[in-house]
């Protein structure tokens, strides 16, 4: 075999091998150790203002009505459970929702930032997804950027009088997609390419993760719609309690 053929063979084998792995769909948690210390600290600092805002918003809600603390905790547990459930998949791989799009629509993005970081800590210590040093970066992509975009898309669609189900689908789908784009950029910033720099590197990461993440975003969107339809049908009073029917404001 020529050298090129050899390389091609080994790439093909690597590619085939990657499908035989017990593939895990929420591959977008940046693992412990992937980011240099500077980036860990920087992403933590960028997330900090959002977390403080979230903390203050939750604190206000709780001090107004002490009863809401179990409600908020249950919502957090719900997001964790939702993100740890195996969702139906076409390829038989094992994938999970992020659940943050749904949470942002239901509970509002600032509360989700705090719930999100707690869920990420538990994912690290209960499921070994993500890590402690990469917590800042993961919080930014999953608990801040994704939910804020979901919430914004949902509000804009509502203003534009798009039908409810489509706006929910778009919100969850775009939020999930953005999480994956932000993570790719986070990796690209830490590992830019020699030629082309950060942008070329980001393109590369986007390409590598696309086969698992894009279908996942579509499924997440569809599932979120099904979940909200279920909630509308059976849980009118509970939805009022968390403020969803009046527009999910907190």
């Amino acid at each position: 075999m020529k050298r090129k053929e050899k390389i091609f063979m080994s790439l093909a084998i690597l590619f085939a091998f990657s499908f035989a792995l017990p593939f895990n769909g929420n591959a977008m948690h940046i693992m412990e150790g992937y980011l240099p210390v500077g980036y860990c600290v920087a992403w933590g600092l960028i997330s900090l203002p959002f977390l403080i805002a979230g903390y203050l918003s939750i604190k206000k809600t709780v001090s107004k009505d002490r009863r809401t603390i179990t409600l908020i905790a249950m919502s957090g547990a719900f997001v964790f459970v939702l993100s740890s459930l195996k969702i139906p998949s076409v390829t038989g791989s094992c994938s999970h929702m992020t659940g943050t799009g749904l949470a942002a629509i239901l509970f509002g993005p600032s509360a989700v930032s705090i719930l999100g970081i707690i869920v990420l800590i538990f994912q690290a210590i209960l499921l070994a997804h993500g890590g402690l040093t990469t917590l800042g970066a993961n919080t930014f992509s999953m608990a801040i950027a994704g939910p804020f975009v979901s919430f914004a898309v949902y509000k804009i669609c509502k203003k534009a009088k798009v039908s409810d189900n489509i706006s929910i689908f778009l919100a969850a789908f775009l939020g999930d997609l953005l999480t994956y784009v932000v993570t790719s950029f986070q990796l690209a910033l830490a590992y830019p390419m020699k030629e082309g720099g950060v942008m070329a590197s980001a393109g590369k990461f986007l390409l590598v993760f696309a086969p698992t993440q894009v279908p996942l975003a579509i499924i997440e969107g569809l599932l979120t719609v099904v979940i909200i339809i279920g909630l509308r049908t059976y849980a009118q009073s509970e939805l009022k309690e968390i403020g969803f029917l009046e527009g999910g404001a907190n």
């Binding site: 940046i30 412990e32 240099p36 179990t70 210590i125 997804h129 040093t133 990796l187 993760f209 569809l222």
Partner: protein, 270 residues
């Protein structure tokens, strides 16, 4: 497998069986963080390998965990490591570059020896960091980690939320398992479309159940004199000199390996 809550995968059960659970949790948390930061900043393949091997020793021999199960913990992070490594090792370009390349139409996929070495170093470093985190998780109960955070002056509201969420997770998972069983016994996962509907309905049902339970729990807490303060009891775990000495030696040896590998110019050490 042992790490399951009624069929549900979770690592925390190992901590209850670990022989290292008697060590002071704050100390374990801080040592793990120091080890993590050092492994990442020194960024040396020998230091990483040393950390990985030591952590295997700590979890399996000192903690008394089954070696096979310990290694199976690395499956979860594996897919991310493979994909991200492909992303780092390979490059795309419109003209030939790197040491090896592969032409795809007008695009070239290329890589170089330096890139492969870098990726290999990174993978070993990631495995070392994951194993450091695992050795913390496998020997410390989650509520102890939460308590450690409280002792480090994390706002009280967050600590309360974490404690409650940790407890609620297992309640919700149990309801999920029951609903899933009953859906499965009614052919709810027959094909992709029914699976989607079943999953969505179960997920919305869980939210409804959880909101109902939240009220019931508040009432239960109030009945037990809850006045706005959640207090969780914690075991007193003393900090022994030998623990500090062990971690000190571990860190010292880390620096030793780092300096030796640089001075003697081991391959791939820079």
């Amino acid at each position: 497998m042992a790490h399951q809550h009624g069929g549900y995968y979770s690592i925390d059960l190992y901590a209850f069986h670990s022989k290292l659970k008697g060590i002071n949790p704050e100390f374990k948390l801080i040592s793990a963080l120091v080890a993590l930061i050092l492994t990442i900043t020194l960024n040396n393949i020998y230091v990483s390998a040393y950390a990985f091997i030591t952590m295997f020793f700590v979890s399996v021999l000192l903690g008394g965990m089954d070696a096979k199960e310990y290694l199976s913990m690395f499956i979860a992070p594996f897919s991310f490591i493979v994909l991200a490594s492909i992303g780092i090792a390979l490059g795309l370009s419109f003209h030939e570059s790197g040491d090896f390349n592969l032409k795809l139409g007008s695009l070239y996929i290329y890589t170089s020896k330096a890139q492969i070495v870098m990726t290999l170093k990174l993978v070993i470093k990631v495995f070392a960091c994951v194993s450091i985190m695992q050795s913390l998780i496998l020997s410390t109960m989650p509520y102890e980690i939460i308590n450690a955070l409280r002792n480090m002056r994390l706002p009280k509201l967050l600590v309360e939320l974490m404690n409650l969420i940790y407890r609620f997770i297992f309640i919700l998972i149990e309801s999920y398992m029951n609903m899933q069983n009953s859906a499965a016994s009614r052919l709810g996962y027959r094909n992709f479309k029914t699976s989607m509907t079943s999953f969505g309905n179960i997920a919305s049902n869980i939210l409804i159940v959880s909101l109902k339970k939240a009220n019931a729990y508040y009432t239960a807490m109030e009945a037990r004199c809850f006045d706005g303060d959640l207090n969780f009891l914690q075991d007193e775990k003393r900090l022994y000199g030998k623990n500090i000495l062990a971690v000190f030696l571990f860190v010292l040896f880390m620096f030793f390996i780092w300096i030796v590998s640089l001075k003697l110019k081991f391959p791939f050490s820079v």
